[in-house]
């Protein structure tokens, strides 16, 4: 009997802790499928963030390092400079990457560190129970913006891909979404290309993934996917910002 679908080897056989309807698990799977398809599990080192995915080192079969909040790009820099032939990726949320770790991500990208960042943007702090993130939409209610995000008080949503794509060291920058099958397939292609860009030694690569957080958004999983499509994408347009034509 032919096996047509199975757990990627790069994912460990263990139960994930994510909430129902959360898309972290899908993104993990996509990364693992890419690692399998590129045949690089044995030389991949991942860096886990602080946030909901803090212990995703338990889910990947490759070597993993857990980093302090926002510091994953600096930690990954240290790893990559010691093992330049390894494939090094960071997995970071929007609080981690776009708030406390803004300096680290900008400078890792600007140095053209040959690492890949998978950036989960769900417009909220998940693990600490739904606080406003730099990526929270205008008007979005969170536990620390109970009357909605107001630009005059809280500033505007931070568009990370647009910002990083102005840097020469960032050679591949793409935003994808988890809201339907077609987009999940696009996401996998982007992640694969980002890894290949790193393996070709071209520079820094990042894939921003628009993700759902039904628990902290306070809506059911199906409507959460709709919310990504209808509310998030207008603020965070999908597509490639840099490196579309790179041949790797």
């Amino acid at each position: 009997m032919a096996i047509v679908f199975q757990r990627p080897h790069a994912l460990r056989e263990t139960q994930m802790h994510y909430c129902p309807g959360c898309t972290h698990g899908i993104v993990h799977r996509l990364i693992a499928e890419v690692i399998d398809e590129l045949g690089v599990e044995g030389r991949t080192i991942g860096v886990s963030p602080v946030g909901c995915a803090y212990n995703n080192y338990l889910y990947f079969n490759c070597d993993m390092v857990q980093a302090a909040h926002g510091r994953a790009p600096a930690v990954a820099t240290g790893i990559k400079r010691v093992h330049p032939d390894n494939v090094v990726f960071t997995y970071q949320g929007d609080g981690d990457l776009a708030a406390i770790g803004t300096a680290e991500i900008i400078h890792a990208a600007n140095r053209g560190e040959k690492i890949t960042t998978i950036f989960i943007n769900n417009a909220i702090y998940g693990m600490t129970s739904g606080q406003m993130a730099p990526t929270t939409l205008v008007g979005q209610v969170t536990t620390t913006s109970p009357f909605g995000r107001k630009p005059e008080l809280h500033g505007y949503p931070l568009n990370v891909c647009e910002m990083l794509s102005t840097l020469k060291g960032a050679v591949y920058v793409e935003r994808v979404s988890m809201h339907d099958i077609k987009n999940i397939k696009n996401a996998k292609n982007a992640i694969k290309k980002a890894f290949k860009v790193q393996m070709a030694g071209l520079g820094f690569s990042i894939v921003e993934v628009l993700s759902s957080c039904p628990t902290n958004w306070g809506i059911d999983p199906v409507n959460a996917l709709k919310w990504i499509e209808e509310k998030m994408i207008p603020q965070y347009p999908l597509g490639n910002f840099k490196g579309k034509d790179l041949e790797v």
Partner: protein, 351 residues
């Protein structure tokens, strides 16, 4: 041993690290230690190593965290305000049991303070600095020659115990030029680093470097393991210089640059018929408590002399444990205690 050459303390730190096999340095400019970075920037390419001027002290220490996770001999250096910024990753690295060397060429604080020599980071270095129950080995050289030797030792101790080692010098030690004699070859401790992240090669289970233990029982167990390691370090690695203490009228406790001043005080006092002893902790942690206990009944009093408001004096008091009075003399702000004022203090105590 090779020939004697004249070198600046800060440059000797970098040279010693290279000789100890350190090929990865991450730092951020701050006076009075920046020559360390200059030296690495120039030399690392010759050794095929990495020098990164990071975007911040925070990032630099997290790069150290990454490189140490990857199994490399790695170091960073800074001066007091910069060391404060490194505390986050220092605590994480202590929990994850990562070996690395951190150099603090101390300047006067608090705040931005000044750029001249001080010893006011004793508490920060020996009592935590970062959060949580952790220790790191703190080595305090008092000459450029010793700076070289202790930097090499620091890498070996770090690897042997999977611990952080901090070298504390003051701005004077970093900036002074002195003769130094390098060995032809260093003894490098060959550590088993099978725990490091190198890629599994599909030949072993994955390695994880982490400092998070959500289950309280597991975290307590990990803490107990760390404490046992610190106990072993205290047992094996405590270092101290005891000078002129037999039959001393007074024993002075001093480390680093100040200990050198005390050696001159000893000579001058002798002419007045006062016998001054010196206990110079070389490891500030583990503190050489046993040596103070050993000599606790000998002098009339102890005197701790520091370039601080009185920090090490607390450990001296704990060690002497009330057997003799313990006095303090200190200068702050980058001021150096003079022989004259120390001698006056000694006369006053012995009156």
């Amino acid at each position: 041993m090779g020939e004697k050459i004249l070198m600046k303390g800060n440059e000797v730190i970098a040279e010693a690290a290279l000789r100890a096999g350190c090929r990865h340095y991450f730092g951020y400019p701050i006076t009075p230690q920046t020559e360390i970075a200059h030296y690495f920037a120039k030399k690392m390419p010759q050794y095929g190593g990495t020098f990164i001027q990071a975007e911040s002290e925070v990032a630099a220490m997290n790069m150290v965290y990454g490189a140490a996770s990857a199994g490399a001999r790695v170091m960073t250096s800074s001066s007091s305000p910069g060391i404060s910024l490194k505390q986050e990753a220092i605590s994480y690295a202590a929990c994850a049991e990562l070996p690395a060397v951190i150099v603090n060429i101390m300047r006067a604080g608090p705040g931005l303070g000044g750029i001249l020599a001080a010893q006011s980071d004793y508490f920060q270095a020996t009592k935590g600095g970062g959060h949580g129950d952790y220790r790191m080995v703190v080595l305090a050289p008092s000459s450029v020659q010793e700076l070289y030797e202790l930097v090499v030792d620091a890498f070996n101790i770090a690897d042997k115990y999977r611990t952080l080692c901090m070298i504390v010098g003051d701005g004077m030690l970093g900036q002074m030029m002195e003769a130094v004699e390098f060995r032809d070859k260093e003894d490098i401790y060959q550590a088993d680093k099978s725990w490091a992240v190198t890629g599994t090669g599909m030949e072993r289970d994955h390695n994880i470097i982490t400092s998070i233990y959500i289950d309280p029982e597991v975290l307590e167990k990990h803490n107990l393991k760390l404490q046992e390691k610190y106990r072993k370090i205290a047992e094996n690695e405590t270092r101290v210089e005891v000078f002129n203490c037999e039959g001393a009228d007074i024993i002075v406790a001093a480390y680093g640059t100040v200990a050198r001043i005390i050696k001159n005080v000893i000579k001058t006092a002798e002419k007045e018929g006062i016998k001054v002893g010196l206990i110079r902790p070389i490891t500030l942690w583990p503190f050489p408590t046993a040596e103070f206990e050993k000599y606790a009944d000998v002098p009339q009093a102890f005197l701790s002399v520091e370039m601080s408001a009185g920090q090490m004096v607390e450990d001296v008091r704990l060690a002497v444990n009330g057997k003799r009075p313990v006095y303090f003399h200190g200068r702050m702000g980058g001021m150096i205690p003079t022989q004259k004022e120390i001698l006056e203090k000694i006369r006053e105590i012995l009156k």
